[in-house]
């Protein structure tokens, strides 16, 4: 290598080294640290303002196509697992590590060096200093200093600088250690957290060799490309196990779907229990688990509950949620739209049943069953959430018994969701079957109130509806009504008039069935809206039409009652509650127009099977994080509450007296240190005075303050 080349090489190396130094300087700089703290805080805020980990379809509805895409690319739906967020964390950890490593040498120096080289001028420049002229020997003064400082808890080192005897002392060295502890703790916590951030799965989904399944699949239906073998990786996932069933894996949420993580053991659920306080609020959620593992001679039985998980082979199994595990439901199908007999159907929650009622085809999807419905007494539809971790369940409660949810899907794919209760609910003094309906999951249910008859059954209402659906019945009732109303018109043409009036009644009932009372009213308003009719006459006609409709409906109701009670027409007496029933029934019939489904399902009997929602985690980084926590707690207190203090004492022998200088500093709380310093100074002065008294029996100390 020529000299020239060597020089060039050296320059390159130097440049590289200085490049490295610049990078390190940048990484360890306070400016970067503060910036990262702020950026991390802002990013965290975004994550709390925007609901995280919702189904992507919901976001699309909320933000519209364009913004949905923008936010998706930015990773805002899963901020805390977005790569840029993790990058900030990594940066913070690296920056802190660089910062600590750079400071360690100076911290070490601070902790071990006594700084005994300070000149008298720099000591007297300190805020806390005192000097005295004393009539004692230098060695007596030194031993007084040593005494006082030792009692004050200072470690010291003494040396001679020429004639001068220098004592340098310090206390609270651990303070500097506090800085190292806290910052190292940040690094350690960061490392542990990154171990637990499941980077492997992120990397594999990024590469595309892990398929994220977005549809609801059972464990056995998961494709092999979506499975992770049990091993060393960290994860946090959930699995629902029905009573009597078991699972050997757990679903991990990834973006808008999930993958399956295999477990090295089987978890079986024997029983899941919810217990309640007297007031109805949930008191505990418990699962009886059985772990079957080849490594175990006998299966392991354990009951877990919220706040009391099972730790097994590095896996932690928590009670996190519950739902239905496939309860068996027997339902009665009541047709709403045409004459037909009620039929019994049977199914399990989670199943789909094809039915055709009066030529209309529907798929019944049984979604959910709940044994208890603890509803707040005060207002609100308040279906309480299933999440036992939910802290927000207060107020007065009432258990209104079992209910179930189903969807009716049309062949076109459109579906509505229904929520029906097993028993009638007492509301405002009467009993009703509540039937909630909604068209999208985000909406609240709108409840239809189907009045229950004396036996507490919907049969009477259904009988009335059945009559309304049969045109022959309606025609009879309408004609009967018209005849009664038109009694005064005897003779010629009367029958034609009756037929015409009855015809309008039938028309109105059709409208009622299709659009409710509002449709009827609309029709009446438009029908008589002609210039040929004056206001008064119009009023009369509308009122007459309403009367015809009301009486026809009443006639149909009476017919239903007659056949239900098996009495003669003349013997039928309507009690107050029968009238109330009639009013409620009309309300319900009008409401049915918006129901738009060919049938209603009444729950008859059930067999309740629950599923327990278990959250299963494996966090190998946890112990590292906990070690960091310990270091952080200790370090913070040391840093704040053990100030690092230094004192110096100089003993300068003179011709006829000795000069003593005392000075001190603290890196925390200058105010408080002032008190400590003056106390030490006073004690020293006392000690010096005593020494002076001993040597020559006279006052021999002249002090002066700073």
């Amino acid at each position: 290598m020529s000299a020239d080349e060597a020089e060039r090489d050296g320059r390159r190396k130097r440049r590289r080294r200085s490049m490295l130094r610049i990078i390190l300087e940048f990484l360890g700089s306070m400016r970067l640290a503060i910036t990262l703290l702020v950026v991390l805080a802002v990013a965290s805020v975004i994550g709390t303002v925007l609901q995280q980990n919702e189904p992507y379809a919901d976001y699309r509805i909320e933000f519209g196509g364009f913004w949905f895409e923008v936010f998706r690319v930015l990773g805002l739906y899963n901020v805390y697992s977005a790569s840029w967020f993790l990058a900030i964390l990594v940066f913070l950890v690296v920056s802190t590590l660089v910062c600590v490593s750079r400071h360690i040498p100076s911290v070490w120096r601070e902790m071990t060096r006594y700084r005994d080289h300070l000149r008298i001028s720099s000591l007297t420049a300190l805020r806390n200093h005192r000097r005295w002229q004393v009539d004692v020997s230098a060695s007596a003064a030194s031993s007084a200093i040593s005494n006082v400082l030792t009692r004050a808890g200072y470690r010291q080192r003494t040396g001679d600088r020429g004639e001068t005897r220098v004592t340098a002392a310090m206390k609270g060295r651990a303070n500097r250690l506090g800085y190292v502890m806290t910052h190292l703790a940040i690094v350690i916590i960061g490392v542990g957290a990154l171990i637990d951030a499941n980077l492997g799965v992120k990397w594999r989904t990024h590469l595309g060799d892990l398929e994220v399944v977005t549809a609801n699949r059972s464990m056995s239906q998961m494709p092999p490309d979506s499975r992770l073998p049990s091993g060393t990786s960290s994860f946090r996932g959930t699995v629902y196990i029905a009573e009597g069933q078991s699972a050997g894996g757990v679903f991990l949420p990834v973006r808008d779907g999930h993958v399956l993580q295999d477990l090295p053991f089987e978890i079986a659920l024997q029983d899941f229990r919810i217990s309640h306080y007297d007031s109805g609020q949930p008191k505990s959620f418990e699962s009886d688990l059985v772990i079957r593992d080849e490594a175990l001679d006998d299966p392991l039985k354990r009951t877990i509950s919220v706040n009391d998980p099972l730790h097994y082979r590095g896996y932690a199994i928590y009670q996190a949620d519950f739902n239905d595990g496939g309860s068996r439901l027997d339902m009665r199908l009541w047709p709403l739209s045409g004459p037909s007999d009620a039929t019994i159907i049977e199914g399990r929650v989670g199943e789909q049943i094809e039915v055709t009622v009066n030529g209309t085809q529907r798929t019944i999807e049984l979604i959910d069953f709940s044994l208890f419905n603890v509803r707040p007494e005060r207002g609100g539809d308040g279906a309480p959430s299933n999440d036992p971790r939910d802290v927000d369940q207060r107020g007065e409660f009432r258990n209104v018994g079992p209910s179930f949810k189903y969807k009716l899907r049309q062949p076109s794919g459109e579906a509505r969701e229904f929520h029906n209760y097993l028993t009638p609910l007492r509301l405002d003094g009467a009993s009703y079957y509540l039937s909630g309906v909604r068209t999208s999951p985000g909406e609240p249910f709108r409840y239809l109130r189907i009045p229950a008859d004396r036996e507490g059954s919907p049969a009477l209402f259904m009988a009335l509806l059945d009559r309304l659906n049969q045109s022959a019945q309606v025609r009879n009732a309408a004609q009967e009504t018209a005849r009664q109303l038109l009694k005064q018109y005897q003779g010629e043409g009367a029958e034609t008039l009756v037929k015409r009036v009855a015809g309008t009644a039938e028309g109105m009932i059709k409208r009622l069935r299709r659009g409710g009372f509002s449709a009827v009213e609309q029709h009446l308003a438009s029908q008589f809206d002609s210039d040929a009719i004056d206001d008064q006459r119009r009023e009369t006609l509308v009122r007459f039409s309403r009367t015809v409709l009301q009486r026809t409906l009443m006639q149909l109701y009476r017919d239903s009652l007659i056949s239900e009670r098996d009495v003669a027409s003349a013997a039928l007496k309507l009690a107050q509650r029968d009238r109330r029933f009639f009013a409620d029934a009309l309300e319900a019939i009008s409401g049915l127009a918006a129901y738009e489904e060919p049938f209603w399902l009444q729950l008859k009997t059930f067999e309740h099977i629950q599923a327990s929602g278990l959250q299963i985690t494996r966090s190998p980084g946890k112990d590292i994080v906990y070690a960091g926590f310990g270091l952080l707690s200790g370090g913070v207190f040391v840093m704040f509450y053990v100030p690092h203090r230094r004192m110096w004492a100089l003993v300068i022998p003179g011709s006829d007296s000795t000069e003593v200088v005392l000075a001190g500093v603290s890196n925390r709380h200058p105010g408080a240190f002032g008190g400590e310093f003056s106390a030490v100074a006073e004690a020293l002065e006392r000690e010096l005075r005593a020494a002076a008294n001993e040597t020559n029996g006279g006052p021999g100390v002249d002090g002066n303050d700073a």
């Binding site: 805020v45 805390y80 306080y277 008191k283 959250q615 707690s633 008190g675 400590e676 106390a679 004690a683």
Partner: protein
């Protein structure tokens, strides 16, 4: 309250810390230890290991606190005695309506109402004292603050007993919902203030700090009367954990300290605007003192908030399956923490002082309040202690 100067003088006479304990220090330790022993022996059956550990640790902390802060040696027995007296007269809930002492003083609702009246009264007294420079009025402020803090603490302790009167399975420590922690906030902030009032020998800051406590009391009253939040509810499963007993109080030392720091920031700004020889400067501590006190309080808050967040994380690991879930409450705790870490850094490494830091402390209270209240109101999560 022993100043550092006196402590140091004391220390210079005796070498070991136990030699420095006076007879009354020892007495205090014996009294607390005896009380703890009585509790341990009498209630051995219903207490589990965690309860015992918490009782022992609390007693040790109380002994240390009493050594460090003399006033505690009077305050604790008075509060303890009043609470025990209340409990003795309280065989069932009906007694709250028939017993004179309970109805007017010691039943939790009465005590809390006393607290709610006394804090604003103390604020007023401190304010009058500051404006008129009547030392007497300010001393009345101190007395009222002590009484208010005592009333609040008695209220909480008696409420704890009352929860057991509702039913053995309903009983729990009253730090389980927003209503209860607001009382805790008022009590702890009051105590932190009283400590520094004695340490710094100034009553001039009372009106500032007590204003924020009075605001909390205002909220408490609204929450009580408008929302009926004062009813004792059974604990939902998520909160049935011994962690709650330590996590929540530790958190509120942090919140209380941050609230006080913000009000010191206000005092700092007021003092800063005033001319050095004007009436305001004569009444308030110096800027340097305010600055140092602000640092001390933030350091105290930061230390306890760090521990509280860590405790919360350990609890989350147990209850929710992970030590960190990025739940909104957790995340906001982190934001609060990062905020004050930033504050401390700028002060320590850049030596930043003065108005900017005072403003930052005030804004910090905004961030803290959002973490404490805003998250419950605006964000959903596993932590919502009850909506407003």
């Amino acid at each position: 309250m022993a100043t550092t100067h006196e402590a140091m003088l004391d220390r210079l006479q005796r070498r070991h810390w136990w030699q420095r304990l006076s007879a009354s220090d020892l007495c205090w330790a014996v009294v607390v230890a005896a009380a703890a022993m009585v509790a341990l022996v009498r209630y051995r059956a219903p207490m589990n290991g965690y309860d015992t550990a918490i009782l022992v640790a609390t007693s040790l902390a109380l002994i240390a606190l009493g050594w460090h802060w003399r006033a505690i040696r009077v305050f604790t027995p008075v509060v303890g005695g009043a609470s025990l007296f209340a409990v003795m007269r309280y065989p069932d809930l009906a007694a709250a309506q028939t017993d004179f002492f309970l109805e007017y003083l010691l039943a939790s609702q009465s005590a809390i109402m006393w607290m709610s009246a006394l804090f604003p009264a103390a604020t007023l007294a401190y304010g009058v004292g500051l404006v008129t420079r009547h030392e007497f009025s300010a001393r009345v402020g101190t007395a009222l603050t002590w009484t208010a803090v005592g009333a609040g603490l008695v209220g909480l302790l008696v409420r704890w007993w009352e929860s057991y009167l509702h039913g053995p399975d309903i009983g729990h420590i009253p730090v389980s919902n927003l209503y209860e922690v607001f009382i805790l906030f008022a009590v702890i902030t009051g105590l932190i203030y009283l400590y520094y009032e004695a340490a710094y020998r100034t009553r001039a800051l009372g009106v500032f700090v007590l204003t924020v406590i009075s605001a909390a009391v205002g909220f408490l009253l609204w929450y009580h009367f408008q929302r009926g939040a004062d009813t004792i509810e059974p604990l939902v499963p998520a909160l049935q954990s011994y962690w709650m007993k330590i996590h929540v109080p530790a958190n509120f030392i942090g919140y209380g300290a941050f609230a006080m720091a913000a009000m010191l920031g206000v005092a700092y700004l007021v003092r800063h605007r005033a001319s050095d020889d004007g009436p305001v400067a004569a009444r308030l501590p110096s800027l340097a003192q305010l600055d140092e006190l602000m640092y001390k309080v933030i350091a105290l808050g930061f230390a306890f908030f760090t521990v509280a967040t860590i405790l919360g994380s350990l609890w989350a690991a147990e209850a929710w399956g992970g030590y960190w879930s990025w739940d909104p409450k957790e995340t906001w705790a982190l934001i609060v923490w990062l905020n004050y870490a930033g504050w401390l850094h700028l002060r320590f490494t850049k030596g930043l002082r003065g108005r900017a830091m005072a403003w930052w402390a005030i804004i910090g209270l905004g961030v803290t309040t959002f973490a404490f209240l805003g998250v419950n109101i605006f964000l959903s999560g596993l932590h919502s202690y009850g909506e407003l």
